[in-house]
């Protein structure tokens, strides 16, 4: 065969192969999959993949099969920028499902706006995503840092706690978390008396001096905004000082705390979370997903796979209604419509693309649940996001700045 013929044959084979894949649509996922928060991205990816598998098994989306393109951003904005750009330009992803921290989220949001690719957030929750850094292609499916603390303040209002001590990490999230909590208390009709405010650095390994300070101040409620390893380190050490017997303590990341500390999780502590499957009995699809995750991974899921699965569901539904994968029509279809998801109906409002995301709050039970090997939340409340969102006027004016 002459070299020209050979070249033509190869070209024909390649284009045939290319044609066979023309029906695959790609979605991108810049995730934190390494370092101290690697479990967030890794578990989120499982949820994304399960959602995509279910869509493909049911015949695909608008006749096309969906494929997930995932990359590790290590929680760093520069890396997030690089991997997301690659996904957009090389893989032509039609949507982004970022599963990382707020710093990386902002980097991705800029690209989403620049290249006009819808980005659906479910892990990063900083208020700036829907205000100062907002663009029309960003969508926030979880309770933002504005909403979360207000939900907790509402739940606590019935207890009439006024003497509070706050312990949050030393960066802008930690400070705004406290500001929002105190504002939420006032909105709920309480007058907060702040007996202490501490901001330990992220990665603090030794909280003993902070714990001593908290005990000395004799607060009625300790508002803890730590997360990840720091939170669990704090809880372990605080137990030794008898903190949970002396006062009421509340913190986020319920699933991490319960699933890691198990029987050692202090009974009576207040915990909140976005999607703790074990408190979502009313959603059988969530229980099925949890069981599926447990079968595959061998551990019960944190909230990320559930939130990620829901995000794909919401996007897919918008695509079906828009009849296209094009960013403009999909972005319009995403707002002002209540989508039925595994965790109930989710609606995204227009002014800042903030969903009416729920916050689950409860207290750690004294006994371990036999099914899961860790204690569950009792005295449960579900605060509707619609009640605690920022007023649209305020959000829009921040967007304009």
């Amino acid at each position: 065969m002459s070299s020209l013929t050979r070249a033509l044959v190869i070209a024909a084979a390649l284009s045939a192969a290319g044609a066979a894949h023309a029906d695959t649509i790609k979605i991108g996922a810049p995730l934190v999959m390494s370092g101290p928060f690697g479990s967030v991205g890794k578990s989120a990816l499982e949820g994304l993949q399960m959602a995509v598998d279910d869509i493909n098994a049911a015949g695909g989306l608008l006749g096309s099969q969906i494929e997930v393109v995932a990359a590790d951003d290590a929680g760093k904005p520069a890396t997030a920028n690089t991997v997301t750009k690659a996904m957009i330009l090389n893989d032509g992803v039609k949507a982004l499902f970022p599963g990382s921290n707020s710093a990386a989220a902002v980097a991705v949001e800029a690209l989403a706006g620049q290249y006009e690719v819808p980005a659906l957030y479910y892990s990063a929750a900083d208020i700036s995503i829907t205000t100062t850094n907002f663009n029309k292609y960003a969508f926030q499916l979880s309770a933002s840092t504005y909403m979360d603390p207000r939900a907790i303040a509402r739940y606590l209002a019935k207890n009439d706690f006024t003497k509070v001590f706050t312990l949050t990490p030393d960066y802008n999230f930690g400070h705004s978390y406290v500001t929002n909590f105190l504002a939420g208390m006032k909105e709920a009709g309480l007058t907060p008396n702040v007996v202490g405010e501490q901001y330990p650095a992220i990665g603090t390994t030794d909280f003993s001096s902070y714990i001593s300070a908290i005990v000395a101040a004799e607060p009625e409620f300790v508002f803890v905004g730590l997360f990840g390893g720091d939170l669990m380190t704090f809880i372990r050490q605080a137990k030794g000082y008898g903190l949970f017997e002396k006062t009421h303590v509340g913190a986020p990341n319920a699933t991490d705390v319960l699933e890691t500390l198990k029987g050692d999780a202090p009974a009576g502590m207040y915990l909140w979370a976005r999607a703790p499957f074990f408190s979502m009995d009313r959603y059988p699809e969530v229980q099925k997903l949890a069981a599926r995750y447990h079968d595959k991974i061998g551990a019960w899921p944190p909230e990320w796979p559930i939130l990620a699965y829901t995000a794909v569901q919401i996007w897919a539904d918008a695509v079906r209604r828009a009849g296209t994968f094009d960013a403009g029509p999909v972005a319009e279809a995403l707002v002002d419509h209540a989508t039925d998801t595994i965790r109930g109906p989710v609606a995204i409002r227009d002014c800042d693309h903030q969903a009416d995301a729920q916050t689950y709050i409860g207290r750690i039970a004294a006994t371990v649940d036999e099914r899961y090997g860790f204690p569950l939340l009792e005295d449960l409340s579900v605060i509707d996001g619609g009640d605690v969102r920022m007023a649209c006027d305020e959000a829009v004016s921040l967007q304009r700045k």
Partner: protein, 293 residues
């Protein structure tokens, strides 16, 4: 501030100091003995913690005793890793400039971090202290964890043991001689290479012990290697690199300073450690008990 308050802050300051000392002791020993700034010390610390926090099927069957066995095993295993590192990597760099050695330990830091993710994954691990150490002691109107007293005890015993080792044993004499004048030491027939390995292994054992002891007080996870480093290095520098007693003094000073700073000047408490270091070094660059070069 009541008496109970003061006692509580002092004790929590000492508890912090104990942990800082255990990690800083290894750093200062390796620097004093080998003139190497070992960034991978944090990795060895993390590995010690992971060993205690991981299931070892054969050992866990022993129930409560498993913790003690893992506590003894961790420093040994980490010491072996240290030996491998010294022989394979660092020994080739002693004649190179300090920068090459520093970069090598940085590279090891990243390699160990990646390896840890492969071996132990990204999930947080949690291990409880054995029941005998899980209680609390009452102090005035306060409560103090028994385990923290245990950590202080381990730090004191380790510090005294190290001091005795370096001051009163033949091995300690050789270590100190290797620092002062390696050529003269080799003339006496001592294998200086072996002494160097031993120094590094001792540093690694200390790191592994620190991680192991601290494991029940932490969420053991990736990132532990970095978070302990800065504080421990500051203690080692403030105390004077190369001085075990200096590391102890530095740890106590910084631990107690920070405990009171958190209460008295909350907005500045995270800065107080760095300010202390800067002020001290401005007046005494070799640290509290270091030797001026």
């Amino acid at each position: 501030m009541s008496l109970g308050d003061v006692a509580s802050y002092l004790l929590s300051g000492l508890a912090s100091a104990a942990i800082l000392f255990l990690v800083a002791a290894g750093i200062t020993l390796v620097f004093g003995g080998l003139r190497i700034v070992n960034v991978a010390h944090g990795s060895l610390y993390m590995y010690g913690a992971f060993i205690v926090a991981s299931p070892f099927l054969a050992l866990d069957a022993l129930g409560a005793g498993a913790f003690w066995l893992k506590l003894a095993l961790a420093p040994v295993l980490v010491g072996l890793i240290g030996a491998a590192v010294e022989i394979v990597v660092l020994r080739r760099l002693y004649h190179r400039e300090h920068l090459a050695q520093l970069l090598a330990t940085f590279a090891l830091f990243y390699i160990f971090a990646d390896l840890a993710q492969q071996i132990w994954g990204t999930a947080y691990r949690s291990v409880g202290a054995p029941a005998v150490l899980s209680g609390q002691v009452a102090l005035f109107d306060r409560v103090f964890p028994v385990y923290s007293l245990f950590v202080v005890a381990v730090a004191v015993v380790t510090g005294l043991g190290l001091f005795a080792l370096l001051r009163f044993t033949m091995l300690g004499w050789k270590v100190r001689a290797a620092v002062e004048d390696p050529e003269l030491l080799s003339v006496t027939g001592t294998d200086v290479n072996a002494v160097s390995t031993l120094i590094f292994v001792l540093g690694a054992v200390l790191a592994g012990l620190a991680g192991a002891v601290v494991a029940p007080l932490q969420a053991v996870s990736l990132g532990m290697d970095a978070s302990i480093l800065v504080g421990a290095f500051i203690v080692a520098i403030v105390g004077g690199l190369g001085s075990i007693a200096g590391a102890a003094l530095g740890a106590v000073a910084i631990g107690i300073f920070q405990a009171f700073a958190v209460v008295l000047i909350p907005s500045w408490s995270s800065v107080v450690v760095y300010l202390t270091m800067i002020l001290l070094l401005a007046f005494r660059p070799e640290g509290l008990l270091g030797r001026a070069e």
